[in-house]
Symmetry: none
Subunit: 199 residues, 4 copies
Amino acid sequence: MHDDKTTRRAGRPRSAEKNDAILRAALDLLARQGYVRMTLDQVAAAAGVSKSTIHLRWKTKADLLTAALAAVRMAGAPPSSGDLRTDLLAILRDFARTVERVNGMALIGTCLAEEDHTPELLALLRERTVLPRRALLREVLERGREEGSVRADADLEAAVSALLGPFYADHLAGRGGRPGWAEQAVDLTLAALRPVGGR
Amino acid sequence: MHDDKTTRRAGRPRSAEKNDAILRAALDLLARQGYVRMTLDQVAAAAGVSKSTIHLRWKTKADLLTAALAAVRMAGAPPSSGDLRTDLLAILRDFARTVERVNGMALIGTCLAEEDHTPELLALLRERTVLPRRALLREVLERGREEGSVRADADLEAAVSALLGPFYADHLAGRGGRPGWAEQAVDLTLAALRPVGGR
Amino acid sequence: MHDDKTTRRAGRPRSAEKNDAILRAALDLLARQGYVRMTLDQVAAAAGVSKSTIHLRWKTKADLLTAALAAVRMAGAPPSSGDLRTDLLAILRDFARTVERVNGMALIGTCLAEEDHTPELLALLRERTVLPRRALLREVLERGREEGSVRADADLEAAVSALLGPFYADHLAGRGGRPGWAEQAVDLTLAALRPVGGR
Amino acid sequence: MHDDKTTRRAGRPRSAEKNDAILRAALDLLARQGYVRMTLDQVAAAAGVSKSTIHLRWKTKADLLTAALAAVRMAGAPPSSGDLRTDLLAILRDFARTVERVNGMALIGTCLAEEDHTPELLALLRERTVLPRRALLREVLERGREEGSVRADADLEAAVSALLGPFYADHLAGRGGRPGWAEQAVDLTLAALRPVGGR
DNA sequence: CATGAATGAGCGTTCATTCAT
DNA sequence: GATGAATGAACGCTCATTCAT
């Protein structure tokens, strides 16, 4: 009789490895194929489980993909090198690297395309990836404001959009991945935010 | 081989009205449903033709949607009020209005999502809508440079991305449609581009 | 230009043979397998068409089977040999023969079993086969009443149930197909309906 | 081999309560959903056990339902008020009440529909419910014959079918539950069985 | 013994595409 | 040219059954 701290559930426990494999495969295929084109057969094959195993855990395809997006977790604390520009650059570069690694633009595209049909996708993408990243940038900018290198009356949310926006605009223009984009975005934004007659 | 200017085909000519109706319906449905979810039956019904009529003109679904995107034409000359800020604002506002009218973010999303599978879509979207709009902005910025209100060494392409980018970033952050976004983007960009010591 | 009497519909006409083959196969399989066990694949295979052809004509499985039952048509005029007993016997024997030929008890069973789930089935079976047969019997009994061989105050609907009922009761008792059942039912019923002191 | 009266198995004995709960749930669901539509998940949920517990006792779905039908037990002794008509009526009314209470027509329908596929079902239904009821009616009729109120040469099995049959015929005609059906059936049958010149 | 996980086979339905009129 | 019929290949989902704890 084992009765440690955790109450033992009856029956065979649900495999955590399978859970992870399924969610990973689902997210990957979602980015590579889009919501509709991705099939549960593909997910099952990629995760090495049967289709029924997926349905045992998530009732519908939408549930699965919602869970897959919900499982995405964003980094942690903002960098703090002591230099405003350096910190912003670090965040933007990490952002670009992550987007490229997970085929993020296609994933963003899918969530946008499905907004009318499965609005949870975009909502989750926003909550799990977009807003946390923005919060990081905002924190760094707030530190800059305290230091005096950012104008006190600056709209920091607008500044965040100015930092991230060029990445999207460049991608749509076919200029994605261009070296120096992050520096340009940071320098342009900081130039605009510099206090009048400042430093 | 016909040597007229207009090559004449034998038999009953294909109805241009039907062509247009099909392409219009296809584009609309592409934006509202996405590539895969949109069906040819829906297009046929919306255009008031039979499904076979569509296949008679375009061999595959991808061909049809490529043609639908290729048929998109962008405005024309840049505004020229004499004031740099006013002109940029006019372009950005028209941009936002157009995107909202045609469910443009979903359309962009679809093209992004399909990039691996049907790359022509994103290429055409870029060519027909993104790049022409960017060219407009660039022209205005160049006029500003000539006038002296924009720094001579400014990277104008980066500036264009700084002008358009916040729109995308805001949308993804759930801040889309926020009033004043265009003013903020223009003011931020122009502040950064202002010649040193300049007005 | 052909314009006879019937307005010519555009496109390829829908094959009437396929229609019939599908309905026939559906009814047969419905009787042999029951509603749920019967599959559209089986119907398609038996009818020599693709599954899609079935869905082109009937939106759902329930629609198809409803149509299959609705297509069942019952005989015509009641026999009239001049002898009441003979006429009733002829109807009952034809009834039994038909039920056996089309696996009718299983079909009836399916409609009863599905009553909670697809009530149209039992309703159609009733309308197309049960009630017409009862009407026949009733007509003959009415002629008997006019002749004076059936009591004037007899409840003829109850008499009809007395004529048909033993068939069902016998089947359930495992005595189905017993020779002489029809004679027994008719004689018992007529004996009960004979006018007091009548012929 | 144990030589007790009750064979004792080794290990924890199977819970009799669970057995009963499962069989009761299975029978109820069989009547309400039909053989194929009813699922073992539903049975497990209704009985408050796991699906595996069911399979532990019965190898297949068919086995379970066979056992469920086999567990049905019919009343007991025939009523004996001293009056033939009263006794027959009592049996028929109890019959109708029982059928309605357990959704009996749907259950009968399922057994009929499954006859080709799982013939044990109809066989058991017959053995456990139909034949016992018929035996009751037959006993009462035999008493009537001894009393002289039923003709000596009457075919009592046919009479039983004449008593029960109208119930089925009425149900199929959409006249089920009609008040007075039992009286009509009894009176019609007794009238036909009355000895010639008898009381 | 009892449970919950895991699965293979299969179902109704959809859709881009091809065929016949 | 234009239509509607016909189809093969999937897809999401279900379920009786088997496996592991």
